[in-house]
Amino acid sequence: MRDKRKQGRNSGAIPEQDSDVKYFNPESQSRRDFLEGTGATVVAGAAATVLGIPAASAQQTGSIAARTAITLVVNGARHSVEVEDRWTLAELLRDRLDLTGTKIGCNRSECGACTVLMNDQPVYSCSQLAVWADGASIQTVEGLARNGQLSPVQEAFVENNGPQCGFCTPGQLMTATALLNSNPSPNSVEVREAMVGNLCRCSNYNAIVEAVVAAGEGENQGGVV
């Protein structure tokens, strides 16, 4: 975990994203004043002044939760954010970074709708604390298409009716992307094994497996074992 964080930090020239947020200055402002001034909701910050504050120094009174400043890369863009220690990665992505493609289906590691890639590994973002993502590189469903071009697995989901209601689809796509990154031409058994942690209550499993196999390269393409 620690090694992966280092990788994230050292990963080179990444554009700083300019967020439309109010900045908290711990030297001149109490957390409570800051929170009241912002309606106690938005707490994202790119200012260098908030970086490096240890979590222990944050006050924890009433509803004011402890906060930690973290830096992470999401879909190639670097974000420096102050997060509440109780936020999950899914909350950070959805509520603070407006990346609502990631869905919360169970919020307890059962369904996989919230799957994102953390340092290229699929994780349930509902069960990762945001602070654990410090230094990590995150990819969400919004980061799959490049320059308006769908990725091969997205394209295959369109062509093979991968989504029914579409709520589990982002998570299915992220696990499938991780699989295809490590195994470019999986057969249907390998797809099923890799994707066992992504439930679909529409039970569109047959079509999803067909789509992922079709997205692969080589002899398995378009066929299902």
Partner: protein
């Protein structure tokens, strides 16, 4: 494998071609906006406090400390928010009618006192942050006086059982009459006298939660006296009407928006308590409120398929002719009657003497309601298990027994068309039924046993009122306005395809506007497999209306547009309209550990003309897999001693995963009976009806043991094989 047989049918231009969803790109890029993805300025977060007891009177609720928590903007309880949830409480199959809501004896509010199940709602909070709202819930002090509770429907009707309502535990019907639901055809006693043999058995089925991936939520926002609800709905028109009625508003004062929603399978019909709670919190706080349910709350606080106990008695002649069928049954409805408690299946037989008595019963479990084909899968499991057993006891092939006894059109009850013989015979041939079934059930040597099962059905496909509007401009761009939401089956695409076909233009020339009651006309709602056949028929009629205008006035020029519309109420001329299906399954049971593996699954359906073969196929495959889950795994268990639910959630209900899924073969036999849009019939619920019966029959064929209780879990198989 998917096949479509369309002998003798004229091919159409758009309809019948496998077509990608018109909104597929939004669904794979994360652009699709589901309810919880909306954010409004100043939006608060709402959470609900729920009862930890199965039955208790609330003595007092103290919200003072919660109200002092910084960020808390509104708290509502049963003491200060007496909002009747009309679509949540009123008895009988007509629970959504306004007069029924007035007449009902047993009214459900958004908060109730006494609370009648673990998860019944007690209070709600709106705060500036989700976590603050959750913290506030923990600061609300509720003093409960615990009351005795009852969980099993048969026990609930015994003398001395805890009374959940003053009138007792048998649910009243929509007219307030407290009687079982009885259907009495012919003379069942005479039928038994006529028979050579009589068979009896008790069957039991579990509570199946809908378990749609998107938990319940609702975003409410007021502008003066106008309420806008962003909500995951299976019927925006009904949701608007019910919300307006429950809040004392006119329909035009409510706007319902549901652009994308994460499944429902029947539990997002009409309005929901989440809509009413969010609207009330929003009104009190003066800010938009996003109300969120956790997965556990969704599991316990919403509803699922009613558990049943079914006692059958069947009289049969030695030649296999069924002369009498009788069923006495109990449906566990939870403490509020959200739907009928029906148990279907007996009507699929021609037997002239049939008696059915169903007792819908209040219990202190979570509420029961609609789940995809509300009355069918558990009923077809019961009756077709019964009939399968009778067939084997008589030494007959169940397929042969069915062809001898299934219902067929009669002179006084004609059908629009009837294809059940072809459906069953096609399935038997494709599956290779004779080779896969064991003539003597359980005859495989050794611990690993294989066998095959079969089930058949017919299911309503009647027509009804819906509306559509279609507009064309001078650039020949067509815009279709339909009040549908795409809950998964692909309604937007299907409606667009029907419009394109009826207008004689390519699908790319048709834009579909849907999911917003302020922009779309009435639609029947995505329940009862009705959208394709009812709203689809309205689309055909609206297109015809527009074409007539174009013929008489020419295509519009300049800034002009032409608008066609229709609100048809089609009939089937007094004929019965049904879709048909048959499923064939081969299973392998490992009798050492009690596990069941599906080796082959063949489905054959006649759902009229198929509009989009891709999405129709996946309705059948998905519904079949849900039915396999009902057969093998899913049930909400309760602890008898405490009344606490034990298995809420995907993990504990053991929902099927990628690894459990067999390749479901789908074969459609296409017909056009001259009714509905281009002959389309119902398909969305058809697949789930057959799976529990087929799987259970296959397990019986493999093991030689009749499994009389769903789900057929490992412990039950081990017990039967011991």
């Amino acid at each position: 494998m998917t096949e479509v047989t369309r002998e003798g049918l004229e091919p159409l231009s758009t309809i019948g071609n496998s077509t990608n969803r018109i909104d597929a790109v939004e669904r794979v890029t994360g652009e699709a906006k589901f309810t919880r993805d909306w954010k409004l300025p100043g939006m608060l977060y709402g959470r609900v406090l729920r009862s930890p007891y199965p039955h208790a009177r609330i003595v007092s609720i103290d919200t003072r400390e919660a109200a002092r928590l910084p960020g808390v903007q509104a708290i509502i309880t049963s003491e200060d928010a007496k909002v009747v949830w009309g679509a949540g409480s009123v008895n009988g199959g007509r629970q959504y009618n306004d007069p029924t809501k007035e007449a009902t004896l047993h009214r459900r509010y958004i908060f109730n006192n006494p609370v009648r199940f673990v998860g019944d709602s007690v209070a709600a909070v709106a705060a500036t942050d989700r976590h603050i709202a959750e913290e506030a819930l923990s600061l609300i002090e509720v003093e409960y006086e615990e009351l005795p509770f009852v969980l099993e429907p048969e026990e609930a009707l015994e003398d001395g059982a805890p009374q959940i309502w003053p009138e007792g535990n048998l649910c009243p019907d929509f007219g307030g009459n407290i009687d079982p639901m009885i259907s009495d055809v012919g003379d069942v006693d005479a039928g038994f006298n006529e028979s050579d043999q009589i068979f009896e058995e008790r069957y039991e089925t579990g509570f199946i939660h809908n378990a749609q991936m998107e938990p319940r939520c609702s975003l409410a926002s007021w502008e003066g006296e106008k309420l806008t609800l962003y909500t995951p709905s299976q019927g925006i028109s009904n949701c608007r009407h019910d919300t307006a009625r429950d809040l004392g508003l006119e329909d035009h004062q409510v706007r319902v928006i549901s652009k994308y929603m994460g499944g429902g399978f029947g539990n997002k019909n009409q309005n929901q308590d989440a809509d009413l709670v969010a609207a009330t919190l929003s009104r009190r706080s003066g800010a938009p409120v996003m109300l969120e349910f956790s997965r556990r709350e969704d599991w316990l606080g919403v509803h699922g398929r009613w558990p049943t106990v079914q006692y059958y008695k069947v009289g049969v002649k030695d030649d296999g002719t069924v002369t009498a069928m009788q069923m006495r049954a109990y449906s566990g409805m939870g403490p509020y009657r959200k739907n009928s408690g029906g148990i279907s299946g007996m009507d699929a037989y021609a037997c002239p003497n049939r008696y059915r008595e169903i007792n819908p019963v209040y219990t202190n479990r979570t509420t029961s309601g609609n789940f995809r084909a509300p009355s069918e899968p558990h009923g077809f499991y019961g009756v077709e298990s019964m009939m399968d057993e009778v067939a084997y006891k008589l030494g007959m092939d169940p397929v042969e027994f069915t062809l001898k006894n299934m219902r067929r059109p009669t002179e006084d009850r004609p059908f629009t068309n009837y294809s059940l013989d072809e459906v069953i015979e096609t399935g038997a041939r494709q599956f290779n039924w004779q080779a896969r079934r064991r003539v003597t059930p359980g005859s495989d040597e050794g611990p690993i046993k294989r066998g095959a099962g079969f089930s058949f059905m017919m299911f309503r496909s009647g027509l009804g009122t819906s509306s559509a509007i279609v507009r064309v401009n001078a650039d020949e761009e067509y815009t279709l306005f339909v009040g549908v939401t795409d809950i998964g089956p692909g309604a937007k695409t299907t409606m667009g395809m029907i419009a394109a076909e009826a207008l004689g233009v390519p699908l790319s020339q048709v834009e579909v506007v849907s999911g917003d009651t302020d922009r779309c006309p009435y639609s029947v709602g995505e329940s009862g497999s009705r959208t394709t056949i009812m709203t689809g028929y309205a689309v055909v009629q609206a297109a015809e209306n527009l074409k007539q205008q174009i013929i008489s006035r020419g295509m519009p020029a300049g800034r002009d547009v032409l608008i066609g519309s229709a609100t048809p109420t089609p009939s089937t001329d007094g004929k019965t309209r049904q879709c048909f299906g048959a499923h064939f399954v081969e299973v392998e049971v490992d009798s050492r550990v009690g596990s069941t593996r599906i080796l082959k699954y063949t489905t054959v359906h006649e759902s009229g003309r198929i509009i989009n073969p891709t999405t129709a196929r996946d309705q059948i495959r998905g519904a079949t897999i849900q039915g396999i889950g009902q057969a093998l795994h899913e049930n909400l268990l309760y602890d008898d001693a405490t009344g606490q639910p034990l298995t809420p959630g995907y993990y504990r209900a053991r929902h099927l995963t990628h690894l459990d899924i067999p390749d479901i073969e789908v074969h459609f036999i296409e017909v056009d009976d001259g009714y509905g849009p281009f002959g389309a019939k119902t398909a969305g619920e058809a697949g789930i009806i057959l799976a529990p019966a087929a799987v259970a029959n296959a397990i019986a064929n493999a093991t030689g043991k009749r499994m009389t209780s769903l789900p057929i879990t490992r412990d039950k198989i081990l017990g039967a094989m011991a």
